[in-house]
Subunit: 119 residues, 2 copies
Amino acid sequence: MKIQLQEPLSKECIQQLRAIKDTMELLSGKWKIQIIGTLLRGGTMRFMELKRTLNGIAPKKLSNDLQELELNKLITRTVKDTKPITVEYSLTKHGKTLDNLIVEIIDWGLNHRKEIIQK
Amino acid sequence: MKIQLQEPLSKECIQQLRAIKDTMELLSGKWKIQIIGTLLRGGTMRFMELKRTLNGIAPKKLSNDLQELELNKLITRTVKDTKPITVEYSLTKHGKTLDNLIVEIIDWGLNHRKEIIQK
DNA sequence: TTTAATAGTTTCCTAAAGGAAATTAGTATC
DNA sequence: GATACTAATTTCCTTTAGGAAACTATTAAA
């Protein structure tokens, strides 16, 4: 019988696991990446514009997700003093840094579908 | 009053949204990326080895997630005919293509933590 | 004055994710 | 014969995610 001693994980490794957790908690769920991707394409958009483009999202969900993304400094929310009030959402500089990651996610997903289906 | 006509999303855009969905469904959850990341570092590993390294995972969860990853051709499961049975898990070639993506996720997460905390 | 658009919030419900603890079954050591 | 290690599976439970529908409040057009 072999007793396997466990080396404790290195600090670097623990940091990396935490980084994965941070990123995935932010991006997990059905809508968040779609919201960010839509804003990447569309620039500044209003609530109803987002709601229409993200076909099928419930207003509660959109509202909640936007709040969470704002808390994390990925988007800004600006209330315009127009006649019927309008609210504009756009990505922050920090939010735009998700561009590369989203491209990777898309590329991997496209390739994965090929891999799974045709073999 | 302006009526905003909606152009239907382009085929390319629909494909991209589907690719995001595919990738995120596969990687979402508390443990899957950690399992893949661990196998990327550790090469071939046994069930109990994984369980010890992924500090805190319930055996049921590990078992379920491994099955799901195997179904998606990201890992292989090999039963060894040893005295107490051993089972080895390792990444497929396809599974290893997640390397880049995971690096991006880690890098973004590290940077995000700086961005949020110190400002 | 009814209708519609603005941007949400509230309530209620279902489904999925995930954890804890016990169990299984084969083999091997004490 | 009791204990322990292998790799799970089973049962039960709580938490979280997310959807549907109704509602609020303001403004403006028909």
